[in-house]
């Protein structure tokens, strides 16, 4: 490579380059912003995300590889980047007032958020296992820190420690997997893994073990059973605004890597891996949904709900090895991630609006189901947003969650796994119980919920809820857009 190549390649990944540089500058600028005016940092961070979003969208349709095949810029990366950037914006919107009232506001919050999004965007575009690993770390480490940003609050510290230890453990699995794949094929680049596998002369045993370990590593990130143990504690202990961002961003990024690696590089292993994926998806849906029933704390309930949703998305991955279904696998998973993002932020924004510190004349922290009693009368707008989110989580029309689940189930049935589709359907029915319970509390119980009147929270809750409903009407073009994001080797 030469200097010119470097500039050309940096230009190819311009949104990522800009966002990284912006985050670095913001870190320095923030040092000179006085403590009472950290809103400026939040605004600047959001501005950076908007610029990156504009760049990503203006470059949609470009399909090329960059940095000697380390990165693939394609429809898939574009679609995922849009999801990440939107969740970044929503993440800032739900955090701004919440951080001030919790007394944990600091400029680094927004900087770390930006760096995490850089990692996620790299993850969606990475075409080399080494790059995937670095992206995984770059998206995770800021999240570990963000989970613990409320130090010295013990639950936040506990969340950070648990998340970090298990995350580091998962990274270890991912690295072992990468090493075995390298040993089996002689390369870490996805294209070369494919060419080595098709030309024979690879050690399939090592490749299978490597793929399995990679699956474990990424399975931790997206929280599929049995790698979900950390999720409830971390989601509950981390500051709610962090959890909201983490529940969407980290999961979407983990699935981005899973989809790209498996659909591109591991179809020859489908015989061995399909049963494993099947079992993972089935257990995740069942255990996530069943344990969620027992939760009275809304953050814990949403944590188990996020586990269950990882199971639904995992379902699409099961037929990844069948050439004619693989495109639908990617498209339906991407579509569902989009639906999940909007729905999740609607729910979390409401949760954050109701959360308050203990001891402000109240003996609850606003996080238990009882605290939602009477929300329907007192705050009809927020209650409506929460209802939409709950319906979308269950998969009831007219919401994006319904359309998303429809496409997922269609993919699974196309792939020839009606049993799994049935499990998905039945567990959705089970989930209706605990999601609707929230709605029942909001509308059918009397109570005096304490609600924060914070404009950005309201805006996020309502905008995402409206998005969930409106986009479900225009789901056809949206799904077509997702279908264009097929994974191809470049």
């Amino acid at each position: 490579m030469s200097l010119n190549d470097l500039l050309v390649n940096l230009n190819l990944i311009m949104p990522i380059t800009i966002l990284t540089a912006w985050a670095c500058v913001l870190l320095l600028v923030d040092l000179f912003i006085p403590k009472e005016r950290k809103g400026i940092t939040a605004l600047l961070a959001a501005l950076g995300l908007l610029v990156a979003l504009a760049l990503v969208i203006s470059r949609a349709g470009v399909a090329t590889s960059a940095f000697n095949g380390m990165i693939m810029i394609d429809g898939f990366a574009t679609f995922m980047s849009v999801i990440f950037l939107f969740s970044g914006l929503a993440g800032i919107a739900v955090a701004y007032d919440y951080l001030i009232r919790s007394g944990i506001e600091r400029g680094e919050y927004y900087v770390l958020l930006l760096f995490s999004i850089v990692g996620m965007m790299l993850m969606a575009a990475a075409a080399d296992l080494i790059m995937v690993f670095l992206a995984l770390e770059l998206l995770s480490i800021p999240l570990y820190v963000l989970a613990g940003i409320a130090v010295p609050r013990p639950d936040s510290e506990e969340a950070a420690l648990k998340y970090f230890l298990l995350g580091a453990f998962a990274s270890g699995f991912f690295l072992y997997g990468t090493a075995l794949v390298y040993g089996a094929t002689g390369s870490t680049a996805l294209t070369e893994i494919v060419s080595a596998t098709t030309s024979g002369g690879v050690n399939l045993s090592f490749l299978v073990i490597g793929a399995g370990l990679i699956l474990v590593g990424l399975g931790f990130k997206v929280a599929v059973v049995p790698f979900h143990m950390w999720t409830p504690d971390v989601y509950q202990g981390a500051p709610s605004s962090v959890t909201a961002f983490m529940a969407v961003g980290a999961k979407a990024a983990g699935f981005a890597a899973l989809l790209r690696i498996f659909v591109l590089a591991f179809p020859p292993l489908a015989m061995d891996l399909t049963p494993v994926l099947w079992a993972l998806a089935a257990f995740t849906m069942i255990i996530g949904n069943v344990i969620a029933i027992a939760q009275r704390n809304i953050k814990r309930m949403l944590a188990y709900s996020s586990i269950a949703h990882a199971g639904y998305i995992m379902m699409a991955l099961v037929p990844y090895g069948q050439g004619n279904v693989a495109a639908d696998t990617v498209a339906s998973a991407l579509f569902y991630l989009l639906a999940y993002m909007l729905t999740s932020f609607a729910a979390w924004a409401v949760v954050i609006a109701l959360e308050h510190n203990m001891g402000e004349g109240r003996d609850t922290d606003g996080l238990s189901l009882e605290d939602y009693s009477g929300l329907g009368q007192k705050q009809p707008a927020l209650a409506a947003a929460m209802t939409v989110a709950m319906l979308s989580f269950i998969g009831i029309p007219p919401t994006l969650g319904f359309v998303g689940k429809f496409y997922l189930l269609r993919t699974v049935i196309e792939g020839g796994f009606p049993g799994l589709a049935l499990i998905g359907l039945l567990t959705s029915l089970v989930s209706a119980y605990y999601y609707l319970r929230v709605v029942v509390y909001m509308y059918m119980r009397d109570g005096e919920p304490v609600v924060r009147r914070e404009p950005w929270l309201y805006f996020t809750a309502l905008a995402t809820a409206v998005g969930v409903v409106v986009l479900s009407i225009f789901s056809e073009p949206l799904f077509n857009w997702a279908s264009q994001a097929v994974l191809k080797l470049i």
């Binding site: 490579m1 030469s2 200097l3 470097l6 990284t20 670095c24 870190l27 320095l28 040092l31």
Partner: protein, 118 residues
Amino acid sequence: MLLEYLPIAVLLILALLLAGIVIALGHMFGPRHPTERKSMPYESGMRPIGPGTRRMPVHFYLVAVLFILFDIEVMFFLPWAVIYKKLGVFGLVEMLIFIAILGVGYVYVWKMGALEWE
């Protein structure tokens, strides 16, 4: 191939032997009359109180973490320095980007007062 490192191995073995011999000689010929007072931990003549290990301020830890990070940075300089002539301006620019990003961290750490000892 490994023979290149023989001098290091010899040095290592010599150091171990020398240290071992000195300690052994001390043990063999040194007079030892232990009393209870003599085998007590030395604390400036005071009677020792409490356990030997104390909790240390978190600042030590912060310094150690920063040390590791800059240590890793330096590790990357080594391969660059070996071939910097071959890489030319391109390599210089690459390294400058690398240093600039870490320089941001350095300024941040400095401004936050992590390098000061209160």
